[in-house]
Symmetry: C2
């Protein structure tokens, strides 16, 4: 009885779109299907390519537009690599950190740690900064790539 979390997430995304009076179009569905099913961050171009493998006539402009829309809704988030930061992956509920394989780009998320937030806030205050947010990504080699 393996529950497909991708399918689940896709349903939730569709509901959220409707709640925001955003139409459920084939273009948006295609991008969302790919993003909810992916196991690594994808660039706009990669999403476009994958969508075209299954469905035809998806404009690259619509991919960018959908990425914008999903970002605004906090359903996806930009993933940063050492070289650049063009890729997107699904954002998870609540604040999460990412652990990314430098070989295959597969990634998993892990939750925060209470002491961590306190430490970040304290480090900022020491320097007179009011810390509002933070970013944490770990890079390593996944089990499959070892």
């Amino acid at each position: 009885m393996s529950q497909d979390t991708g399918q689940q997430r896709l349903r939730i995304w569709k509901r959220i779109l409707r709640e925001h009076d955003l139409r459920l179009t084939p273009a948006r569905k295609a991008v969302m299907e790919i993003l909810t099913g992916c196991d690594r961050p994808l660039t706009a171009q990669e999403i476009h390519d994958r969508a075209r493998d299954h469905r035809h006539s998806l404009g690259i402009a619509s991919v960018y537009r959908t990425l914008d829309t999903l970002s605004d809704l906090d359903l996806i988030q930009r993933i940063h690599h050492l070289q650049g930061c063009e890729a997107y992956g699904p954002a998870l509920t609540g604040h999460k950190h990412f652990l990314i394989c430098t070989e295959c780009e597969r990634m998993v998320a892990f939750p925060g740690w209470d002491e961590l937030d306190d430490y970040f806030k304290a480090e900022g205050e020491k320097r007179g900064y009011q810390v509002k947010d933070h970013w944490l990504q770990l890079f390593g080699v996944c089990p499959e790539c070892q």
Copy 2:
């Protein structure tokens, strides 16, 4: 007797270039002077503009080339923002984290924390990953902008 750490760093960078058999050219000097003296991350375009204010005829291509060279030598590092990651700032000796003002982009660095590395490694191992590196940036409001 305020010591200018920018000047100091510039001298070190020049020495490192020489040690790697890289020529000390006016173009490289211009980019290095700006980067060692800046208090916030700068894009290639910004560096180009600033260089031209003081010295003429600096090609944008040479800015990109010098940024590449300095990155390879670990003398500068890419700074990532929520929107993108085109800016560079001087990398500091040893592993450091950044605290960046979301208003003015001014940034300061702060050192690691022993327990932090252990925590990162442990979180990775839990998921079968061999953690090699991490990235931590804090975002907040600096004293001047509050």
